[in-house]
Amino acid sequence: GQLTIGFSQIGSESGWRAAETSVSKQEAAKRQVNLKIADAQQKQENQIKAIRSFIAQNVDAIFLAPVVSTGWDSVLKEAKEAKIPVVLLDRDIDPSGKDLYLTAVTSDSVHEGEVAGEWLAKTVGSKACNIVELQGTVGASVAANRKKGFDTAIAKHANLKLVRSQTGDFTRAKGKEVMESFIKAEGGGKSICAVYAHNDDMMVGAIQAMKEAGLKPGKEILTVSIDAVPDIFKAMAAGEANATVELTPNMAGPALDAIAAFKDKGTVPPKWIQTESKLYTAADDPQKIYDSKKGLGY
Protein backbone atom coordinates (compact mmCIF):
# COMPACT_ATOMS: atom_id res chain seq x y z
CA GLY A 1 0.00 0.00 0.00
CA GLN A 2 0.98 3.55 0.63
CA LEU A 3 4.47 4.13 1.95
CA THR A 4 4.94 5.95 5.22
CA ILE A 5 8.27 7.69 5.56
CA GLY A 6 9.57 9.54 8.57
CA PHE A 7 11.74 12.54 7.84
CA SER A 8 13.88 13.92 10.62
CA GLN A 9 14.50 17.47 9.49
CA ILE A 10 17.03 19.69 11.24
CA GLY A 11 14.79 22.64 11.79
CA SER A 12 14.02 25.86 10.09
CA GLU A 13 17.10 27.96 10.48
CA SER A 14 17.14 29.48 7.01
CA GLY A 15 15.08 30.09 3.93
CA TRP A 16 16.88 27.30 2.16
CA ARG A 17 15.87 24.83 4.84
CA ALA A 18 12.25 25.93 4.62
CA ALA A 19 12.40 25.36 0.88
CA GLU A 20 13.87 21.89 1.36
CA THR A 21 11.01 21.01 3.66
CA SER A 22 8.33 22.29 1.37
CA VAL A 23 9.90 20.72 -1.74
CA SER A 24 10.10 17.42 0.14
CA LYS A 25 6.42 17.63 0.89
CA GLN A 26 5.61 18.38 -2.74
CA GLU A 27 7.75 15.50 -3.96
CA ALA A 28 6.16 13.12 -1.48
CA ALA A 29 2.69 14.25 -2.46
CA LYS A 30 3.56 13.71 -6.11
CA ARG A 31 4.43 10.10 -5.34
CA GLN A 32 1.56 9.60 -2.89
CA VAL A 33 3.90 8.91 -0.04
CA ASN A 34 2.85 9.69 3.51
CA LEU A 35 5.74 11.85 4.75
CA LYS A 36 5.93 12.44 8.49
CA ILE A 37 8.23 15.33 9.20
CA ALA A 38 9.71 15.79 12.66
CA ASP A 39 11.41 19.09 13.15
CA ALA A 40 14.41 18.92 15.48
CA GLN A 41 14.80 22.61 16.17
CA GLN A 42 18.51 22.36 15.35
CA LYS A 43 19.22 19.78 18.02
CA GLN A 44 20.82 16.42 17.42
CA GLU A 45 19.21 14.93 20.49
CA ASN A 46 15.82 15.81 19.07
CA GLN A 47 16.71 14.11 15.80
CA ILE A 48 17.69 10.97 17.63
CA LYS A 49 14.45 11.09 19.58
CA ALA A 50 12.54 11.54 16.36
CA ILE A 51 14.22 8.56 14.72
CA ARG A 52 13.47 6.43 17.75
CA SER A 53 9.84 7.37 17.63
CA PHE A 54 9.75 6.61 13.89
CA ILE A 55 11.11 3.18 14.69
CA ALA A 56 8.48 2.79 17.39
CA GLN A 57 5.85 3.65 14.81
CA ASN A 58 7.24 1.13 12.33
CA VAL A 59 7.58 3.46 9.36
CA ASP A 60 8.66 2.07 5.99
CA ALA A 61 11.74 4.24 5.68
CA ILE A 62 13.49 7.07 7.45
CA PHE A 63 14.96 10.18 5.90
CA LEU A 64 17.54 11.94 7.95
CA ALA A 65 19.03 15.37 7.36
CA PRO A 66 21.77 15.09 9.99
CA VAL A 67 22.59 18.26 11.87
CA VAL A 68 26.10 16.98 12.50
CA SER A 69 28.13 14.21 10.94
CA THR A 70 28.79 12.12 14.04
CA GLY A 71 26.78 10.38 16.66
CA TRP A 72 24.27 8.39 14.64
CA ASP A 73 25.68 4.92 15.06
CA SER A 74 23.58 3.53 17.81
CA VAL A 75 20.25 4.93 16.69
CA LEU A 76 20.87 3.89 13.10
CA LYS A 77 21.77 0.44 14.36
CA GLU A 78 18.39 0.30 16.01
CA ALA A 79 16.79 1.26 12.71
CA LYS A 80 18.76 -1.46 11.00
CA GLU A 81 17.67 -4.02 13.56
CA ALA A 82 14.11 -2.95 12.92
CA LYS A 83 14.83 -3.39 9.19
CA ILE A 84 13.95 0.17 8.32
CA PRO A 85 16.07 1.64 5.51
CA VAL A 86 17.57 5.05 6.16
CA VAL A 87 18.38 7.68 3.56
CA LEU A 88 20.56 10.67 4.39
CA LEU A 89 19.53 13.95 2.89
CA ASP A 90 21.59 17.05 2.30
CA ARG A 91 24.49 16.14 4.58
CA ASP A 92 26.65 13.10 5.01
CA ILE A 93 27.60 11.34 8.22
CA ASP A 94 30.84 9.99 9.55
CA PRO A 95 32.37 7.18 7.46
CA SER A 96 32.08 4.68 10.30
CA GLY A 97 28.35 4.62 9.75
CA LYS A 98 28.56 3.71 6.06
CA ASP A 99 26.76 0.40 6.37
CA LEU A 100 24.01 1.84 8.50
CA TYR A 101 22.20 3.70 5.77
CA LEU A 102 20.96 2.82 2.33
CA THR A 103 22.12 5.88 0.47
CA ALA A 104 22.94 9.52 0.91
CA VAL A 105 21.49 12.22 -1.32
CA THR A 106 23.80 15.13 -0.71
CA SER A 107 25.85 17.74 -2.31
CA ASP A 108 29.54 18.00 -1.58
CA SER A 109 29.99 21.15 0.43
CA VAL A 110 33.76 21.14 0.04
CA HIS A 111 33.15 21.06 -3.68
CA GLU A 112 30.75 23.99 -3.39
CA GLY A 113 33.50 26.07 -1.82
CA GLU A 114 35.85 25.01 -4.59
CA VAL A 115 33.42 26.03 -7.30
CA ALA A 116 33.07 29.43 -5.66
CA GLY A 117 36.82 29.84 -5.29
CA GLU A 118 37.53 28.75 -8.84
CA TRP A 119 34.98 31.13 -10.23
CA LEU A 120 36.60 33.95 -8.33
CA ALA A 121 40.10 33.02 -9.46
CA LYS A 122 38.93 32.89 -13.06
CA THR A 123 37.10 36.19 -12.86
CA VAL A 124 39.87 38.10 -11.13
CA GLY A 125 42.52 36.82 -13.42
CA SER A 126 46.00 37.77 -12.46
CA LYS A 127 45.47 41.01 -10.59
CA ALA A 128 45.95 41.08 -6.84
CA CYS A 129 42.75 40.63 -4.90
CA ASN A 130 41.99 40.95 -1.19
CA ILE A 131 39.10 38.75 -0.20
CA VAL A 132 36.95 38.94 2.91
CA GLU A 133 34.99 35.92 4.03
CA LEU A 134 31.72 35.62 5.91
CA GLN A 135 31.75 32.27 7.61
CA GLY A 136 28.79 30.23 8.68
CA THR A 137 28.12 29.31 12.28
CA VAL A 138 31.28 28.39 14.14
CA GLY A 139 31.40 24.65 14.49
CA ALA A 140 28.90 23.87 11.72
CA SER A 141 30.37 21.27 9.39
CA VAL A 142 28.99 22.99 6.30
CA ALA A 143 30.84 26.15 7.28
CA ALA A 144 34.08 24.27 7.80
CA ASN A 145 33.73 22.44 4.48
CA ARG A 146 32.81 25.48 2.45
CA LYS A 147 35.79 27.24 3.93
CA LYS A 148 38.05 24.30 3.21
CA GLY A 149 36.97 24.06 -0.43
CA PHE A 150 37.34 27.76 -1.01
CA ASP A 151 40.74 27.89 0.65
CA THR A 152 42.01 25.02 -1.52
CA ALA A 153 40.76 26.73 -4.63
CA ILE A 154 42.39 30.07 -3.94
CA ALA A 155 45.59 28.56 -2.57
CA LYS A 156 46.58 27.82 -6.13
CA HIS A 157 46.54 31.52 -6.95
CA ALA A 158 49.10 33.66 -5.19
CA ASN A 159 47.32 36.85 -6.17
CA LEU A 160 44.22 35.94 -4.16
CA LYS A 161 44.54 36.72 -0.52
CA LEU A 162 42.03 36.12 2.24
CA VAL A 163 42.44 39.17 4.49
CA ARG A 164 39.55 38.86 6.90
CA SER A 165 37.30 36.08 7.98
CA GLN A 166 34.62 36.25 10.64
CA THR A 167 31.41 34.40 11.35
CA GLY A 168 28.11 35.85 10.23
CA ASP A 169 26.12 32.94 11.69
CA PHE A 170 24.48 32.30 8.30
CA THR A 171 22.12 35.24 8.90
CA ARG A 172 21.42 38.44 7.05
CA ALA A 173 21.65 40.69 10.05
CA LYS A 174 25.01 39.32 11.18
CA GLY A 175 26.26 39.29 7.61
CA LYS A 176 25.50 42.97 7.39
CA GLU A 177 27.06 43.79 10.75
CA VAL A 178 30.22 41.85 10.03
CA MET A 179 30.55 43.38 6.58
CA GLU A 180 30.20 46.83 8.10
CA SER A 181 33.13 46.14 10.37
CA PHE A 182 35.17 44.67 7.49
CA ILE A 183 34.61 47.86 5.56
CA LYS A 184 35.77 49.98 8.50
CA ALA A 185 38.77 47.78 9.14
CA GLU A 186 39.81 47.77 5.49
CA GLY A 187 40.03 51.49 5.04
CA GLY A 188 36.45 52.14 4.07
CA GLY A 189 36.32 49.06 1.88
CA LYS A 190 38.57 50.45 -0.80
CA SER A 191 41.05 47.62 -0.46
CA ILE A 192 38.45 44.86 -0.63
CA CYS A 193 38.23 43.24 -4.02
CA ALA A 194 35.84 40.38 -3.34
CA VAL A 195 33.47 38.98 -0.75
CA TYR A 196 32.88 35.29 -0.25
CA ALA A 197 29.98 34.27 1.93
CA HIS A 198 29.11 30.75 3.06
CA ASN A 199 25.51 31.40 2.21
CA ASP A 200 23.44 33.82 0.20
CA ASP A 201 21.59 35.27 3.17
CA MET A 202 24.77 36.69 4.65
CA MET A 203 25.69 38.00 1.22
CA VAL A 204 22.39 39.85 0.90
CA GLY A 205 23.16 41.55 4.22
CA ALA A 206 26.71 42.29 3.13
CA ILE A 207 25.49 43.83 -0.11
CA GLN A 208 23.36 46.25 1.92
CA ALA A 209 26.32 47.14 4.09
CA MET A 210 28.44 47.86 1.05
CA LYS A 211 25.76 50.00 -0.53
CA GLU A 212 25.31 52.00 2.64
CA ALA A 213 29.06 52.59 2.77
CA GLY A 214 28.90 54.04 -0.72
CA LEU A 215 30.51 51.04 -2.35
CA LYS A 216 29.23 49.26 -5.44
CA PRO A 217 28.88 45.54 -4.83
CA GLY A 218 28.91 43.52 -8.01
CA LYS A 219 31.01 46.14 -9.72
CA GLU A 220 33.74 47.49 -7.43
CA ILE A 221 33.57 44.48 -5.20
CA LEU A 222 32.93 41.00 -6.52
CA THR A 223 30.58 38.72 -4.65
CA VAL A 224 30.27 34.97 -4.61
CA SER A 225 28.18 32.91 -2.28
CA ILE A 226 26.45 29.56 -2.00
CA ASP A 227 22.86 28.18 -1.92
CA ALA A 228 21.20 30.02 -4.80
CA VAL A 229 18.21 31.34 -2.91
CA PRO A 230 15.82 33.61 -4.85
CA ASP A 231 16.91 36.87 -3.25
CA ILE A 232 20.48 36.55 -4.53
CA PHE A 233 19.11 36.35 -8.05
CA LYS A 234 17.22 39.55 -7.45
CA ALA A 235 20.50 41.17 -6.44
CA MET A 236 22.19 39.68 -9.47
CA ALA A 237 19.51 41.05 -11.72
CA ALA A 238 20.17 44.46 -10.19
CA GLY A 239 23.86 44.02 -10.85
CA GLU A 240 24.75 43.93 -7.16
CA ALA A 241 25.87 40.33 -6.95
CA ASN A 242 28.03 38.26 -9.22
CA ALA A 243 27.79 34.58 -8.55
CA THR A 244 26.20 31.86 -6.48
CA VAL A 245 26.61 28.10 -6.28
CA GLU A 246 23.39 26.16 -6.16
CA LEU A 247 22.51 23.77 -3.40
CA THR A 248 19.30 22.21 -4.60
CA PRO A 249 16.46 21.98 -2.11
CA ASN A 250 15.21 18.91 -3.87
CA MET A 251 16.98 16.15 -2.00
CA ALA A 252 13.83 14.24 -1.23
CA GLY A 253 12.91 13.56 -4.88
CA PRO A 254 15.89 11.32 -5.65
CA ALA A 255 15.63 9.79 -2.19
CA LEU A 256 11.99 8.87 -2.69
CA ASP A 257 12.78 7.33 -6.05
CA ALA A 258 15.57 5.30 -4.54
CA ILE A 259 13.32 4.04 -1.76
CA ALA A 260 10.52 3.20 -4.14
CA ALA A 261 12.90 1.18 -6.32
CA PHE A 262 14.36 -0.52 -3.27
CA LYS A 263 10.96 -1.48 -1.87
CA ASP A 264 9.44 -2.58 -5.17
CA LYS A 265 12.29 -4.34 -6.84
CA GLY A 266 14.95 -4.53 -4.22
CA THR A 267 17.28 -2.34 -6.28
CA VAL A 268 20.09 -1.20 -4.05
CA PRO A 269 20.95 2.40 -4.97
CA PRO A 270 24.54 3.69 -5.08
CA LYS A 271 25.89 4.75 -1.68
CA TRP A 272 26.06 8.41 -2.69
CA ILE A 273 23.66 10.22 -4.95
CA GLN A 274 25.46 13.51 -5.43
CA THR A 275 23.44 16.57 -6.36
CA GLU A 276 24.85 19.08 -8.73
CA SER A 277 26.67 22.15 -7.43
CA LYS A 278 25.81 24.42 -10.27
CA LEU A 279 27.28 27.87 -10.61
CA TYR A 280 25.00 30.76 -11.54
CA THR A 281 26.20 34.15 -12.67
CA ALA A 282 24.62 37.28 -14.08
CA ALA A 283 24.83 35.62 -17.48
CA ASP A 284 22.15 33.11 -16.54
CA ASP A 285 19.11 35.43 -16.69
CA PRO A 286 18.79 35.87 -12.95
CA GLN A 287 15.33 37.44 -13.17
CA LYS A 288 13.89 34.32 -14.74
CA ILE A 289 15.50 32.05 -12.17
CA TYR A 290 14.21 34.31 -9.46
CA ASP A 291 10.68 33.97 -10.75
CA SER A 292 10.95 30.23 -10.98
CA LYS A 293 12.40 29.81 -7.50
CA LYS A 294 10.11 32.26 -5.75
CA GLY A 295 7.32 29.77 -5.30
CA LEU A 296 9.43 27.00 -3.78
CA GLY A 297 9.03 28.14 -0.21
CA TYR A 298 12.41 29.81 0.29
Partner: protein, 330 residues
Protein backbone atom coordinates in the same frame (compact mmCIF):
# COMPACT_ATOMS: atom_id res chain seq x y z
CA UNK B 1 31.63 67.56 42.45
CA UNK B 2 29.23 64.65 42.67
CA UNK B 3 28.03 65.60 39.22
CA UNK B 4 31.46 64.81 37.85
CA UNK B 5 31.84 61.60 39.78
CA UNK B 6 28.41 60.07 40.03
CA UNK B 7 27.86 57.62 42.85
CA UNK B 8 26.41 55.03 40.53
CA UNK B 9 27.57 54.46 37.00
CA UNK B 10 31.22 55.16 37.56
CA UNK B 11 32.19 51.54 37.04
CA UNK B 12 30.12 51.36 33.85
CA UNK B 13 31.56 54.55 32.40
CA UNK B 14 35.08 53.42 33.20
CA UNK B 15 34.43 50.02 31.68
CA UNK B 16 33.14 51.67 28.52
CA UNK B 17 36.18 53.91 28.30
CA UNK B 18 38.55 50.99 28.77
CA UNK B 19 36.82 48.91 26.10
CA UNK B 20 36.78 51.88 23.73
CA UNK B 21 40.50 52.30 24.31
CA UNK B 22 41.09 48.62 23.59
CA UNK B 23 39.02 48.95 20.42
CA UNK B 24 41.18 51.87 19.39
CA UNK B 25 44.24 49.67 19.81
CA UNK B 26 42.90 46.77 17.75
CA UNK B 27 41.53 49.11 15.11
CA UNK B 28 43.34 52.42 14.61
CA UNK B 29 40.46 53.93 12.62
CA UNK B 30 37.99 53.26 15.43
CA UNK B 31 37.26 56.90 16.19
CA UNK B 32 37.21 58.06 12.56
CA UNK B 33 33.96 59.68 11.54
CA UNK B 34 32.94 61.03 8.16
CA UNK B 35 29.79 62.02 6.39
CA UNK B 36 28.56 59.51 3.81
CA UNK B 37 25.41 60.35 1.84
CA UNK B 38 24.37 62.81 4.54
CA UNK B 39 24.84 60.24 7.26
CA UNK B 40 27.62 59.83 9.77
CA UNK B 41 29.81 56.87 9.04
CA UNK B 42 32.34 55.18 11.27
CA UNK B 43 32.83 52.46 13.84
CA UNK B 44 31.44 54.59 16.65
CA UNK B 45 28.21 55.01 14.72
CA UNK B 46 28.18 51.26 14.10
CA UNK B 47 28.41 50.66 17.81
CA UNK B 48 25.43 52.91 18.46
CA UNK B 49 23.46 51.63 15.51
CA UNK B 50 24.05 47.93 16.11
CA UNK B 51 23.53 48.48 19.79
CA UNK B 52 20.01 49.83 19.30
CA UNK B 53 18.04 46.58 19.39
CA UNK B 54 19.66 45.46 22.62
CA UNK B 55 19.42 48.98 24.04
CA UNK B 56 15.70 49.03 23.28
CA UNK B 57 15.23 45.57 24.75
CA UNK B 58 17.12 46.54 27.86
CA UNK B 59 14.85 49.57 28.34
CA UNK B 60 11.92 47.24 28.77
CA UNK B 61 13.89 44.49 30.45
CA UNK B 62 15.27 46.77 33.14
CA UNK B 63 11.75 47.59 34.32
CA UNK B 64 10.75 43.94 34.31
CA UNK B 65 13.85 43.00 36.25
CA UNK B 66 13.23 45.85 38.68
CA UNK B 67 9.98 44.12 39.64
CA UNK B 68 11.95 40.93 40.25
CA UNK B 69 10.85 39.43 36.96
CA UNK B 70 12.60 38.44 33.79
CA UNK B 71 11.43 38.31 30.20
CA UNK B 72 12.95 35.60 28.05
CA UNK B 73 10.49 36.18 25.23
CA UNK B 74 11.80 39.49 23.91
CA UNK B 75 13.79 37.88 21.12
CA UNK B 76 10.75 35.97 19.95
CA UNK B 77 8.59 39.08 20.20
CA UNK B 78 11.12 40.86 18.01
CA UNK B 79 10.76 38.09 15.45
CA UNK B 80 6.96 38.25 15.54
CA UNK B 81 6.84 41.98 15.13
CA UNK B 82 9.48 42.00 12.44
CA UNK B 83 7.46 39.39 10.58
CA UNK B 84 4.27 41.41 10.89
CA UNK B 85 6.00 44.58 9.78
CA UNK B 86 7.52 42.88 6.75
CA UNK B 87 4.29 41.25 5.67
CA UNK B 88 2.33 44.48 5.95
CA UNK B 89 4.97 46.91 4.70
CA UNK B 90 4.33 46.80 0.99
CA UNK B 91 0.56 46.99 1.20
CA UNK B 92 0.06 49.53 3.96
CA UNK B 93 1.35 52.86 5.15
CA UNK B 94 3.89 53.21 7.89
CA UNK B 95 1.32 54.24 10.53
CA UNK B 96 -0.65 51.04 9.95
CA UNK B 97 2.51 48.95 10.07
CA UNK B 98 3.68 50.58 13.27
CA UNK B 99 0.28 50.33 14.90
CA UNK B 100 0.04 46.65 14.03
CA UNK B 101 3.51 45.77 15.25
CA UNK B 102 3.43 47.80 18.43
CA UNK B 103 -0.03 46.40 19.05
CA UNK B 104 1.34 42.89 18.64
CA UNK B 105 4.16 43.67 21.06
CA UNK B 106 1.62 45.00 23.50
CA UNK B 107 -0.47 41.85 23.26
CA UNK B 108 2.63 39.71 23.82
CA UNK B 109 3.50 41.79 26.86
CA UNK B 110 -0.04 41.50 28.15
CA UNK B 111 0.12 37.74 27.80
CA UNK B 112 3.37 37.54 29.76
CA UNK B 113 2.07 39.96 32.34
CA UNK B 114 -1.14 37.97 32.64
CA UNK B 115 0.75 34.75 33.31
CA UNK B 116 3.01 36.37 35.88
CA UNK B 117 0.72 38.83 37.63
CA UNK B 118 -2.63 37.08 37.42
CA UNK B 119 -1.85 33.37 37.20
CA UNK B 120 1.17 33.78 39.44
CA UNK B 121 3.58 31.76 37.29
CA UNK B 122 7.28 32.18 37.79
CA UNK B 123 8.46 34.80 35.30
CA UNK B 124 11.20 32.68 33.79
CA UNK B 125 8.87 29.83 32.80
CA UNK B 126 5.97 32.10 31.98
CA UNK B 127 8.05 33.94 29.44
CA UNK B 128 9.77 30.77 28.30
CA UNK B 129 6.40 29.73 26.90
CA UNK B 130 6.27 32.74 24.61
CA UNK B 131 9.97 32.41 23.87
CA UNK B 132 9.32 28.98 22.39
CA UNK B 133 5.90 29.54 20.87
CA UNK B 134 6.60 33.11 19.78
CA UNK B 135 9.31 32.17 17.36
CA UNK B 136 6.93 29.57 15.99
CA UNK B 137 4.31 32.26 15.51
CA UNK B 138 6.83 34.44 13.73
CA UNK B 139 7.78 31.57 11.44
CA UNK B 140 4.16 30.84 10.86
CA UNK B 141 3.68 34.38 9.62
CA UNK B 142 6.65 34.16 7.26
CA UNK B 143 6.31 30.41 6.64
CA UNK B 144 9.97 30.04 7.44
CA UNK B 145 11.06 32.27 4.59
CA UNK B 146 12.79 35.60 4.76
CA UNK B 147 10.03 38.00 3.80
CA UNK B 148 11.50 40.98 2.04
CA UNK B 149 9.89 44.33 1.40
CA UNK B 150 10.78 47.52 -0.32
CA UNK B 151 8.51 50.10 1.29
CA UNK B 152 10.79 53.13 1.54
CA UNK B 153 9.09 54.33 4.72
CA UNK B 154 9.91 51.22 6.66
CA UNK B 155 13.38 50.97 5.14
CA UNK B 156 13.96 54.53 6.31
CA UNK B 157 13.37 53.38 9.88
CA UNK B 158 16.37 51.11 9.55
CA UNK B 159 18.65 52.95 7.21
CA UNK B 160 17.58 56.57 7.09
CA UNK B 161 19.14 59.36 9.02
CA UNK B 162 18.11 62.43 10.96
CA UNK B 163 20.68 65.21 11.18
CA UNK B 164 23.36 62.74 10.21
CA UNK B 165 22.41 60.21 12.88
CA UNK B 166 20.97 56.88 11.78
CA UNK B 167 17.24 56.69 12.55
CA UNK B 168 17.54 53.67 14.91
CA UNK B 169 19.82 55.67 17.18
CA UNK B 170 17.34 58.52 17.23
CA UNK B 171 14.52 56.12 18.03
CA UNK B 172 16.45 54.52 20.87
CA UNK B 173 17.32 57.90 22.26
CA UNK B 174 13.70 58.97 21.97
CA UNK B 175 12.54 55.82 23.73
CA UNK B 176 15.07 56.36 26.49
CA UNK B 177 13.78 59.87 27.03
CA UNK B 178 10.16 58.78 26.79
CA UNK B 179 10.61 55.89 29.19
CA UNK B 180 12.56 58.09 31.55
CA UNK B 181 9.88 60.74 31.43
CA UNK B 182 7.08 58.26 32.06
CA UNK B 183 8.87 56.35 34.77
CA UNK B 184 10.56 59.13 36.63
CA UNK B 185 8.06 61.83 35.78
CA UNK B 186 5.27 59.87 37.38
CA UNK B 187 5.32 57.81 40.52
CA UNK B 188 5.83 54.67 38.44
CA UNK B 189 9.56 54.51 39.15
CA UNK B 190 9.11 54.59 42.89
CA UNK B 191 6.26 52.10 42.85
CA UNK B 192 8.17 49.70 40.58
CA UNK B 193 11.20 49.85 42.82
CA UNK B 194 9.03 49.27 45.86
CA UNK B 195 7.28 46.33 44.18
CA UNK B 196 10.60 44.78 43.24
CA UNK B 197 12.15 45.50 46.61
CA UNK B 198 9.37 43.92 48.64
CA UNK B 199 6.18 42.99 46.83
CA UNK B 200 4.31 41.96 49.97
CA UNK B 201 5.08 45.15 51.81
CA UNK B 202 4.22 47.25 48.78
CA UNK B 203 0.93 45.47 48.31
CA UNK B 204 0.10 46.17 51.95
CA UNK B 205 1.05 49.80 51.47
CA UNK B 206 -1.65 50.03 48.84
CA UNK B 207 0.51 49.73 45.74
CA UNK B 208 -1.30 47.93 42.94
CA UNK B 209 1.52 45.50 42.41
CA UNK B 210 -0.34 43.45 39.84
CA UNK B 211 -1.02 46.43 37.67
CA UNK B 212 2.59 47.43 38.06
CA UNK B 213 3.84 44.03 36.94
CA UNK B 214 1.39 43.93 34.05
CA UNK B 215 2.53 47.37 32.97
CA UNK B 216 6.22 46.54 32.89
CA UNK B 217 5.72 43.42 30.81
CA UNK B 218 3.56 45.36 28.40
CA UNK B 219 6.21 48.03 28.10
CA UNK B 220 8.84 45.36 27.61
CA UNK B 221 6.73 43.90 24.80
CA UNK B 222 6.39 47.29 23.14
CA UNK B 223 10.12 47.93 23.34
CA UNK B 224 10.78 44.50 21.87
CA UNK B 225 8.30 45.24 19.08
CA UNK B 226 10.14 48.41 18.21
CA UNK B 227 13.46 46.57 18.27
CA UNK B 228 11.94 43.95 15.97
CA UNK B 229 10.73 46.54 13.48
CA UNK B 230 14.15 48.18 13.42
CA UNK B 231 15.91 44.85 12.98
CA UNK B 232 13.62 44.02 10.06
CA UNK B 233 13.95 47.46 8.53
CA UNK B 234 17.71 47.17 8.78
CA UNK B 235 17.95 44.12 6.53
CA UNK B 236 14.82 45.02 4.55
CA UNK B 237 13.32 41.72 5.44
CA UNK B 238 11.97 39.66 8.26
CA UNK B 239 14.10 36.69 9.21
CA UNK B 240 11.80 34.96 11.64
CA UNK B 241 14.31 32.17 12.21
CA UNK B 242 17.10 34.37 13.44
CA UNK B 243 15.78 37.81 14.33
CA UNK B 244 16.47 38.51 17.97
CA UNK B 245 17.85 35.03 18.54
CA UNK B 246 19.57 34.93 21.96
CA UNK B 247 19.19 38.69 22.32
CA UNK B 248 17.22 38.19 25.53
CA UNK B 249 20.46 37.10 27.16
CA UNK B 250 22.26 40.19 25.88
CA UNK B 251 19.45 42.39 27.17
CA UNK B 252 19.58 40.78 30.61
CA UNK B 253 23.34 41.10 30.59
CA UNK B 254 23.04 44.79 29.69
CA UNK B 255 20.67 45.37 32.57
CA UNK B 256 22.93 43.63 35.04
CA UNK B 257 26.02 45.42 33.75
CA UNK B 258 23.94 48.54 34.26
CA UNK B 259 23.91 47.74 37.95
CA UNK B 260 20.31 46.60 38.37
CA UNK B 261 19.99 43.58 40.60
CA UNK B 262 18.24 40.49 39.28
CA UNK B 263 16.50 40.43 42.65
CA UNK B 264 14.61 43.57 41.78
CA UNK B 265 14.47 46.98 43.34
CA UNK B 266 16.60 49.94 42.33
CA UNK B 267 17.05 50.34 38.60
CA UNK B 268 18.62 52.75 36.20
CA UNK B 269 17.44 53.21 32.62
CA UNK B 270 20.48 55.14 31.49
CA UNK B 271 22.90 52.63 32.92
CA UNK B 272 21.01 49.74 31.33
CA UNK B 273 21.40 51.42 27.96
CA UNK B 274 25.02 52.05 28.80
CA UNK B 275 25.31 48.33 29.51
CA UNK B 276 23.95 47.60 26.04
CA UNK B 277 26.56 49.94 24.57
CA UNK B 278 29.32 48.24 26.53
CA UNK B 279 28.28 44.90 25.08
CA UNK B 280 28.12 46.27 21.57
CA UNK B 281 31.44 48.10 21.88
CA UNK B 282 32.94 44.79 22.82
CA UNK B 283 31.22 42.97 19.93
CA UNK B 284 32.29 45.55 17.39
CA UNK B 285 35.82 45.42 18.75
CA UNK B 286 35.86 41.65 18.31
CA UNK B 287 34.71 42.00 14.70
CA UNK B 288 37.32 44.67 13.98
CA UNK B 289 40.13 42.79 15.65
CA UNK B 290 40.50 40.18 12.94
CA UNK B 291 40.90 37.31 15.39
CA UNK B 292 39.45 34.03 14.22
CA UNK B 293 35.79 33.72 15.26
CA UNK B 294 36.56 30.74 17.49
CA UNK B 295 37.81 33.30 20.01
CA UNK B 296 34.67 35.45 20.09
CA UNK B 297 32.99 33.74 23.02
CA UNK B 298 36.14 33.54 25.10
CA UNK B 299 36.76 37.25 24.72
CA UNK B 300 33.14 37.93 25.59
CA UNK B 301 33.34 35.81 28.72
CA UNK B 302 36.49 37.48 29.93
CA UNK B 303 35.20 40.99 29.30
CA UNK B 304 31.87 40.30 31.00
CA UNK B 305 33.58 38.92 34.06
CA UNK B 306 36.01 41.82 34.19
CA UNK B 307 33.23 44.41 33.95
CA UNK B 308 31.27 42.68 36.70
CA UNK B 309 34.27 42.38 38.98
CA UNK B 310 34.88 46.09 38.52
CA UNK B 311 31.41 46.71 39.89
CA UNK B 312 31.50 44.19 42.68
CA UNK B 313 31.24 45.86 46.07
CA UNK B 314 33.67 43.30 47.38
CA UNK B 315 36.25 44.14 44.78
CA UNK B 316 37.85 46.98 46.61
CA UNK B 317 39.99 48.16 43.71
CA UNK B 318 37.72 50.41 41.73
CA UNK B 319 35.04 50.97 44.32
CA UNK B 320 37.69 51.96 46.82
CA UNK B 321 39.39 54.37 44.48
CA UNK B 322 36.08 55.95 43.54
CA UNK B 323 35.08 56.37 47.16
CA UNK B 324 38.42 57.90 48.02
CA UNK B 325 38.22 60.27 45.07
CA UNK B 326 34.76 61.31 46.10
CA UNK B 327 35.82 61.90 49.63
CA UNK B 328 38.82 64.01 48.72
CA UNK B 329 36.79 66.11 46.32
CA UNK B 330 33.94 66.64 48.73
Amino acid sequence: MTALLPRRGLAQILALIVILAVDRVVSPQFFDLRLQDGRLFGSLIDVLNRGTPVALLSLGMVLVIATRGIDLSVGAVMAICGAIAASLADGHGLPVVLAATLGAGLVCGLWNGFLVAVLGMQPIVATLILMVAGRGIAQLITEGRIVTFSSPDLVWLGNGSVLGLPVPIVIALGMLILTGAVVRGSALGLLIEATGGNARASELAGVGTRAMILAVYVWCGVCAALAGVIAAADIMGADANNAGLWLELDAILAVVIGGTSLFGGRFSLVLAVLGALIIQTMNTGILLSGYPPEFNLLVKAVVVLAVLLLQSPKFSGLAGIAARLRRTKA
